[in-house]
Amino acid sequence: MEEKLHALAQAAKEAVRAAKSLEELDGVRIRFLGRKGELTQILRSMKELPPAERPRLGQLANRVRDELEAELAERAENLKRLLEECRLEKERLDTTLPGVRPTLGHKHPLTWVLDEIKDIFLRLGFDVVEEPEVEYDYYNFEALNIPKDHPARDMQDTFYITEEILLRTHTSPFQARTLERMAPEVPVRVICPGRCYRRDPADATHSPMFYQTEILAVDKNISFAHLKWILITFVREMFGKNREVRFRPSFFPFTEPSAEVDISCVVCGGKGCSLCKGTGWLEILGSGMVHPRELEIAGYDPRKVSGFAAGMGPDRIAMLKYGIDDIRLFYENDLRFLRQF
């Protein structure tokens, strides 16, 4: 009996090792451990043994069964792994084939820039407002200290619709409208993005329609030094921390003093190149202290409050940021252009 058991254990071990598939292995299990299996039958015949030997041989038989079961399980595990490895090997893909992409829509480059401008000023505590693109002559010029026949109107060739109604030439009417609405409340901190129009035939640097964003702050004790801080903060957020910023005197009818804001050239960094015409600087913003006359027209007392205003061209900013050399690309909408953003 004992020998029989040993021989059986040996045979079973070999059969397990020889099994080449899970089906074969299952056959081995049935052959030895199935209801009519060889080991099962030996176990069943235990009761016929003399009682003295039963415990020892019973133990032996149980051990043989346990070992066999463990080996079967291990072999099954191995086979499974081998088979899986085999399958995975067959499923090898050419991962250098291109991916199949979802179709994502693209944000227009001007929208990217407008969103970024709005975001920066929102973080600085400025409200965003929208004002009409079709505007009264009064708000576009008169209320901004630009009476009819003022030389400053030379600078802006205007699309008129009637004598009194026009397409705004800048977002500045928003200054007049905002101040009129807010006076005499302070603080005023607002920005106004939107489309503007001038009678410039389209070429690489001009467009009869373009975007502007205007900034306005009015409060007690606002100074030119505050204007500098806000604009430097903005420029560095927009163009990077190391961007140099310079303010130089200029003229706008609705600010006094007025300043043009230049940034160090985005291409050469200030050494001078064709983009900055060798100066190392790029004009990026017009700004200044709100003209006291404008405050007065709106109903503020310019001896008690002061303010600053600034205006910028998102088109130009986008051109500088993205290296675009022709403003017409924005409004032509060639998809090969739009899909780059």
Binding site: P151, S250, M289, L335
Partner: protein, 807 residues
């Protein structure tokens, strides 16, 4: 404004490097656009003497010229210029020479004859801007400059010229003296004015000339001198060079002096041929109705009565402040000259110049404003120069009509306020000295205020704010610290409409659409291309008074034409699938012509053409169709939690059988459909094109930006699929309605998963397959509970729709 450095130095002692001075000017508000060095890169061009010249044996229009360039040998040079005679001195570019712009000269052959160099025109040397100068031929040098001399020294090459961008508030800086005054203020140097002393040669101007100003409202001041024994001749080299460097073309000594003094002082002058003045009188008056004038440029101008003219006893002989008349032009025969120095009203000059389309150096200055108190200085300066050139003698006396003299004005300013507005520690002393350096006089100095007298050449200094700028720019904008704002903390707020606009764009991008930005103005014919009905309100277009072109002449009332044009452009250029959108405004007049601002609602436009996206190696993307278009709109509604209803529409823009309108809470907010083939053709589009336009403004109040969580059902639903055969023209919407109604409360989801017609479906029928989910909120439904509901659904479909269940 072109300012030659050497000319500027005549009025102010400054020896800064050009770049250094340029930086100072820019940072003081006189922006330097560029610093030019006229012809500075020229090398190996020397003075040569024309000894002998003969025709080229092979070419009639060419000359073979023998020139002596002082090298001890004669050079042979070929030229096509026709203005040479033996004995003149000319610039000769030797082989190896470089001309402005980097052009290199080498020995060459012209039709077999060797040319050892090149003779140069003024233009080739970079001296003249326009081609006219070149057509006149080779530059003939004046006097007898030594042969072989470097040409740069002879004609003033290498001159540094500042190109200044003068802002409209500083008309005083449209002159060398004005710029010199700024330089003096910036560097602390002293301003030196040029001599204006005039020797009078007897006679009396009043015996020779009468002047009457009939339009004193348009002519603030009119002054004149008469000069006799005029000898018209070319100007001397120094004068010509300065004019050329400043961008003006020399004409003759008299005209050149008037131009020179204008550039020097900013005061335009005009010289009339005195003998051509009928009745020897000048009347400054408005033009007569129907009056004509031939201006110096030879053009006959039709005048109108709001234009100011300078007339003699008979007719207009000059356009005041803009351009002289041809009749009284200075010619070689001119023997007596009337020199005019006047101040005309800027607005009238601008209007007239605009109306006639003339822009002259004179009109430019009058438009910006000329100092009426500088009139005599310029007049005397010009007379001084004419005498200095020996070109004429001044008759005794000046006529000067100046009925309402303008006086300097005083402004009271507060140094404390100036300091606070600048935001820097600018001392009172600095403020005082700045004003003085600018040529302003402090006439009152009290504890908290200064009173400043402003000379009339600074019309821009009217109130305290103007002085803040003067002090700040002399202090240096760079020196002012950048200081963070103080005050209550405020929260930046973005209005709801903008928040929604941003989100809408996000959803459309996520749907795979590319954002476009198109012009707000379109061609008026675009509404015809859309086949809009005659009474469609979108035909009420706002027209611009003076559009740039018909293509951009009206404000759009719909986004579709612009988007369809973009689609067509991209189809033509084969840029790939067109799936685009735009969110921008349209312009709806309340009445025409406009009396008030129009309605400007924000619209969303979508255009789809061709496949839905890029194809890949796995296959082509499916083509767009009506249902994808509708799906995009549905997704948008879902994103904003809006319930909408699609209803039938009959717009001529769309395919009659493939269009719909979206109605939300009883209001139409969008239309969508496949483009009518005639519309597609009108826009040059090929294939099927799908478009939708949504009035976002109307939808915004109905949108809901705040999600609200609803737990999903706790008990599992039971799924059943059923397919119905219904008559082919039954709208899916009515089928769904019947099924839902019959399904009652236990039917929790109903979804169409297949539409089929063809084999196994009888003709005139279609098969709609739905999946149903039945569910109760408090237990799992049993088969017994579902069976009667299904039966009810099938019965309703049979009874109400004439449907049959497919098994």
């Amino acid at each position: 404004m072109r300012v030659p450095y050497s000319w500027l130095k005549s009025y102010v002692d400054v020896d800064l490097q050009p770049e250094e001075l340029g930086e100072k000017l820019t940072m003081a508000g006189l922006a330097v656009d560029s610093i030019e060095r006229v012809g500075a890169d020229t090398t190996n061009v020397v003075v040569g003497l024309v000894k002998e010249m003969k025709r080229h044996p092979e070419a009639d229009h060419l000359w073979v010229v023998h020139v002596d360039t002082g090298e001890g040998k004669i050079r042979q040079v070929i030229t096509g210029a026709q203005n040479l005679t033996p004995g003149v001195r000319v610039p000769v570019a030797l082989p190896g020479a470089t001309l402005p712009g980097g052009e290199k000269i080498a020995e060459t052959r012209f039709r077999g004859v060797v040319s050892e160099g090149m003779l140069c025109s003024a233009q080739e040397l970079g001296l003249a801007e326009d081609r006219a100068e070149e057509e006149e031929g080779i530059l003939i040098l004046e006097g007898e400059p030594p042969l072989g001399t470097d040409i740069r020294a002879v004609v003033g090459l290498g001159e540094v010229v500042f190109n200044l961008d003068i802002t409209p508030n500083r008309p005083d800086c449209l002159s060398m003296i004005g710029v010199a005054r700024e330089v003096a203020a910036l560097t602390g140097a002293k301003l030196k004015l040029p001599p204006v002393d005039v020797k009078e040669y007897g006679g009396n101007i009043n015996d020779r000339l009468k002047i009457r100003v009939d339009a004193p409202d348009l002519c603030l001041r009119y002054a004149a001198r008469v000069l006799t024994k005029i000898r018209v001749a070319p100007s001397p080299g120094w004068l010509k060079r300065r004019l050329l460097a400043a961008g003006m073309r020399p004409i003759n000594n008299i005209v050149d002096v008037t131009n020179y003094v204008m550039l020097e002082t900013g005061q335009p002058l005009h010289a009339f041929d005195y003998t051509r003045l009928a009745g020897q009188e000048i009347i400054v008056r408005r033009a007569r109705p129907g009056e004509n004038l031939i201006t110096l440029d030879g053009v006959e101008r039709k005048l109108s009565p709001e234009m100011l003219v300078i007339a003699d006893g008979e007719q207009a002989t000059g356009l005041a402040g803009i351009m002289g008349g041809l009749l009284s032009e200075i010619t070689n025969e001119t023997s007596t000259v009337m020199l005019e120095s006047a101040c005309f009203y800027n607005i009238s000059v601008r209007r007239t110049a605009r109306q006639l389309g003339i822009r002259s150096e004179a009109s430019l200055r009058f438009e910006k404003g000329v100092d009426p108190n500088g009139v005599l200085f310029a007049l005397e300066r010009a007379c001084h120069l004419i005498e200095e050139l020996g070109a004429g003698e001044v008759v005794e006396g000046i006529i000067d009509i100046y009925p309402n003299p303008v006086s300097p004005w005083e402004v009271k300013i507060s140094p404390v306020r100036i300091r606070n507005l600048i935001g820097a520690q600018v001392s009172d002393d600095f403020i005082r000295s700045s004003l003085q350096r600018l040529g302003l006089e402090i006439v009152g100095d009290e504890e908290h205020s200064l009173t400043v007298r402003v000379p009339t050449f600074r019309p821009d200094l009217r109130q305290e704010a103007d002085f803040v700028e003067e002090v700040a720019r002399l202090y240096g904008f760079t020196e002012i610290p950048a200081t963070a704002m103080e005050g209550v903390l405020s929260l930046g707020h973005k209005p709801r409409a903008l928040q929604i606009e941003d989100k809408v764009k996000e959803v459309l991008r996520a749907a795979g659409l590319d954002e476009t930005q198109t012009y707000s103005f379109v061609h008026p014919g675009s509404v015809d291309k859309l086949r809009l009905a005659p009474d469609d309100p979108r035909r009420r277009l706002i027209r611009l008074l003076l559009p740039l072109s018909e293509d951009q002449s009206v404000l759009r009332t719909t986004l579709l034409p612009s988007l369809l044009e973009v689609a067509a452009l991209n189809q033509r250029r084969k840029t790939g699938p067109v799936n685009i959108f735009e969110v921008n405004r349209v312009y709806w007049p309340k009445e025409l012509p406009l009396k008030e601002l129009p309605e400007m609602p924000r619209h969303v436009g979508v255009v789809l053409a061709g496949p839905r996206g890029e194809s890949s190696w796995q296959g082509k993307a499916a083509d767009n169709d009506f249902y994808r278009l509708k799906g995009i709109l549905e997704a948008l509604l879902e994103a904003f939690r809006v319930e909408g209803e699609f209803v039938a529409a009959t717009l001529p823009t769309y395919h009659p059988g493939r269009q719909a309108a979206l109605s939300v809470a009883g209001e139409e907010v969008a239309t969508l459909g496949e483009l009518h083939p005639a519309v597609a053709e009108a826009f040059g589009l090929s294939g099927r094109v799908y478009a939708l336009e949504l009035n976002l403004e109307r939808l915004i109040p109905k949108m809901n930006l705040a999600p609200r969580y609803r737990p999903w059902p706790r008990f599992p639903g039971v799924e059943r699929d059923l397919a119905f055969l219904v008559p082919a023209d039954t709208p899916a919407k009515s089928v769904t309605a019947v099924l839902k109604e019959a399904g009652g409360p236990t039917l929790s989801e109903l979804k169409l998963f297949d539409l089929y017609s063809g084999e196994q479906v009888p003709p005139g029928y279609k098969s709609l397959a739905y999946s149903f989910v039945f569910r109760a909120s408090d237990h799992t439904l049993t088969e017994e509970e579902i069976e009667p509901v299904l039966a009810a659904i099938i019965k309703a479909a049979e009874d109400q729709l004439g449907a049959r269940v497919r098994r």
